[in-house]
């Protein structure tokens, strides 16, 4: 290892001098960044599954929840969320349009 850090070289006068260590040689088999992500993700997912495992069981309603198209709660929630999304989108669009109008008006006046 010491040879890698310091090496002797012949100077112009023929005397040995110590050169600073060259930049570290890149690892021929670097661990790809993606693989590191995947290892972290798998660990986090395993921990989350472990924490959430009790709630996977729906208890006595398992039979009913399998046939979710027969439950009013599902389709009711779907319709409510559609209405909420439409409302929020309209509000954001109105806000963006108002901001653009005010900006234009400010630029003119």
């Amino acid at each position: 290892m010491a040879e890698g850090r310091e090496r002797k070289a012949e100077g112009p006068e023929g005397k040995g001098c110590v050169l600073s260590s060259p930049p570290p040689h890149p690892n021929p088999n670097p661990l790809p960044q993606e693989r590191g992500y995947v290892v972290h993700l798998l660990g986090a997912m395993a921990a989350l599954i472990g924490l959430c495992s009790p709630v996977w069981a729906h208890g006595d309603e398992a039979e009913e929840l399998g046939h979710h198209w027969e439950l009013a709660a599902y389709i009711g929630e779907v319709r409510l969320q559609l209405a909420l999304m439409a409302g929020i989108t309209c509000a954001i669009a109105a806000w963006l349009l108002a901001a653009r109008y005010l900006r234009k008006r400010g630029a003119r006046g």
Binding site: P32, E34, R35, Y37, V38, H40, L41, A44, M45, L48, I49, C52, V55, W56, H58, E61, L65, G66, H67, H68, W69, L71, A73, Y74, I75, E77, V78, R79, L80, Q81, L82, L84, M85, I88, T89, I92
Partner: protein, 255 residues
């Protein structure tokens, strides 16, 4: 549309070269093939168990693909600085985000369709006939995966890949047990403030369980067409809405 398509095509090429894509596809295909061995032990209901296991494998495989590919697309471009020449062109950031999402979705669809093809061949070899419910179940699985990919892409515009993956996975789990678990939590909450917080989380979470038609495929149950149409529209609207929020956030972000 042309810039979106170009970004989507490049994203498909980039994603399909990733090792994660190949590993997850092969793992899911191995699970599908392995479920034939497990179903041997269930005499009489072999095909039903096979369908159940295979559909679960396809759903988890598709979700894992959507999360891993969706969470790395945009952050990798920002980190490697390949985003600069892209946004320097006459392409809006919204087009870039939508193109990335479409690329992720196309790649995940390729994987899911490959898994579904193997599953279809297995079922056809057992039943000696093609099961039309299979197309329905796989189609709705793709819509569910589309919602997950949209969530992953949107969060990735604001956060690092690791945080994005964990958050998306958490949303996926919570969305899958939304009605059965979170509905009960709201009912059990005593404090009014806690109830409001629970209700806000409850209504913000995607209702992913309604895309799960595994039971209909296994038992050949009739599912009303009106329900299917509403659920399909809901899935596409939810994905579009989440992407809309993502484009709004990304438009103001310093890259």
């Amino acid at each position: 549309m042309r810039p979106i398509w170009i970004i989507a095509r490049m994203s498909v090429l980039e994603n399909s070269r990733k090792h994660v894509f190949h590993v997850l596809c092969l793992l899911t295909l191995a699970l599908i093939a392995g479920s034939t061995l497990l179903s041997i032990f269930t005499e009489g209901v072999q095909v039903k168990i096979l369908k159940d296991l295979c559909m679960t494998s396809i759903l988890f495989g598709g979700a894992a693909l959507a999360i891993t590919l969706g969470c790395t697309g945009i952050p990798n471009d920002v980190e490697s600085r390949t985003i600069y020449p892209i946004i320097a062109r006459p392409i809006s950031r919204a087009q870039y985000v939508v193109g990335k999402f479409l690329g992720t979705m196309l790649t995940v669809s390729m994987g899911v369709i490959a898994m579904a093809a193997v599953f279809g061949v297995l079922i056809a070899s057992y039943q000696h006939t093609f099961d039309p419910y299979l197309l329905l179940a796989v189609g709705f699985t793709l819509i569910e995966v589309c919602v997950i990919a949209a969530i992953s892409t949107t969060i990735s515009t604001l956060a690092s890949p690791a945080i994005t993956a964990v958050l998306t996975f958490l949303i996926y789990i919570c969305g899958s047990i939304k009605i059965g678990y979170f509905g009960g939590l709201i009912d059990r909450a005593t404090s009014g403030f806690v109830k409001v917080i629970y209700a806000a989380i409850y209504h913000a979470l995607p209702n992913l369980e309604c895309f799960n038609l595994k039971t209909a495929l296994v038992h050949h149950d009739y599912v009303p067409v009106a329900y299917l149409a509403q659920v399909a529209i809901y899935g596409l609207c939810y994905a579009a809405f989440v992407l809309f929020l993502g484009t709004l956030g990304f438009a103001r972000k310093e890259v």
